[in-house]
């Protein structure tokens, strides 16, 4: 091996690149001068690789959380505004509708035939008792399928039963005097029961 002539710059570069020829590789093994020349360029490149990696690791440590957040939850972030708008819209419709129902305005159109059939007897009996009671009330009873309304219907039935029982079994003290009680006024609650004496 000839160590008097050293590797050219191009051959040294080939060594650094990792593609040295057979002859250059053999020369490099035995030539200290060429080894130093290679090391003179390898050192700065290795330092650059190490320092630049340390730099980017430091950069990544401070910003990786932000990047992960941006990449991982892109869909919810994009959809947050439309979702919030939809929620507001739903709430905006739901509150007035709930208030509307609470006021007891009958939603006749919304009632199906099944509900009408189920509540029909109640409405009829209610109509019988109250006579010309306001239609709105009857309709409310007829359309009601909520637990509160059902309770009201049951209470009304119970009161009517009590009334009938009292009418049939208890004798009025005025019967002894032959006084006939006539019902006056309206059954709506505003009328008064006025005794009408009859002197037979």
């Amino acid at each position: 091996m000839n160590f008097e002539t050293h590797l050219s710059e191009e051959q040294l570069d080939d060594v650094l690149i990792g593609d040295p020829g057979v002859e250059a590789a053999a020369h490099l093994k035995g030539c200290g001068v060429c080894q130093e020349r290679v090391a003179a360029l390898e050192g700065p490149i290795a330092s650059f690789a190490a320092v630049s990696l340390a730099w980017s690791e430091r950069q990544s440590a401070t910003t990786s959380a932000r990047v992960v957040g941006a990449t991982g939850s892109a869909w919810p972030r994009r959809m947050s505004w439309p979702l919030a708008a939809s929620c507001l819209l739903v709430i905006g419709f739901a509150i007035p509708m709930a208030r509307h129902e609470e006021r007891g305005v009958p939603a006749v159109v919304a009632n199906g035939p099944r509900q009408a059939e189920a509540s029909q007897p109640v409405s009829l009996s209610a109509a019988k008792v109250s006579g010309s009671t306001t239609k709105a009330r009857v309709v409310v009873v007829a359309t009601a399928d909520r637990p509160v309304d059902a309770q009201i219907v049951r209470d009304n039935q119970m009161l009517r039963a009590i009334d009938r029982e009292l009418d049939a079994s208890v004798q009025s003290p005025s019967d002894a005097f032959g006084v006939v009680m006539a019902v006056g006024g309206r059954p709506s609650g505003r009328g008064r029961y006025a005794p009408i004496p009859s002197w037979d």
Binding site: S47, A50, E57, R58, V67, V68
Partner: protein, 193 residues
């Protein structure tokens, strides 16, 4: 026959491992972000733009993970995506390279403090910073292709065949770029002495 079967099984396992690696975006970013950020940053010379491109690169990789065939490492695949993004930026002329990017230029002087313990002495740190700045200065005068290829070879430790495949260039062209890059580095390092 047995040996061939084992090699095939190892390849299949490697592909499965790489595929599952791509499914976890958090782990993917944690593992590969520093190297990828370095590659992009020193390729384009603009730290802010590099952040953006690196983020795009991970998004593209995650969205296109079904296209990963496992015929190269995940790092090489990510690097090839980054190269395409850098080229897109070049085509669109949305950024200016080194000379115009001073505002967000890379300052590596602090980074030497985070080097491994064998280089942690004060003298070693100063020498490392000095050498790094020399190479950095040499890179400033290279073309984007030369810089990218230099980084692939000497920062990413990719071999010539992988580099040629990643940037779709003949190996001889890759070697020519590397020769020019090394000549510039040699001139910078030699001139500083």
């Amino acid at each position: 026959m047995q040996l061939a079967l084992e090699v095939t099984m190892q390849n299949v396992q490697a592909v499965e491992r790489s595929s599952s690696e791509l499914d976890d975006i958090d782990a993917l970013v944690r593992t590969y972000r520093p190297r990828l950020l370095r590659f992009v940053t020193f390729s384009i010379g603009d730290a802010d733009l590099a952040e953006s491109i690196t983020q795009d690169c991970f998004l593209k990789a995650y969205n296109g993970r079904g296209n990963f065939r496992g015929d190269c490492s995940v790092n090489t695949w990510l690097t090839s995506i980054a190269v395409n993004l850098i080229r897109d930026q070049q085509r669109l002329q949305k950024f200016r390279f080194w000379r115009q990017a001073r505002a967000t230029a890379i300052d590596v002087s602090d980074a030497a403090n985070f080097l491994a313990s064998h280089e942690s002495s004060a003298e070693a740190r100063i020498l490392a910073i000095e050498r790094t700045e020399q190479v950095q200065a040499a890179l400033e005068n290279l073309s984007v292709n030369q810089r990218t290829i230099f980084l692939m070879r000497f920062a990413e430790d990719m071999d010539l065949a992988d580099i040629a495949k990643t940037i779709s260039m003949p190996i001889n062209t890759v070697k020519t770029h590397l020769h020019r890059a090394l000549k510039a580095v040699r001139a910078q390092v030699g001139g500083a002495r």
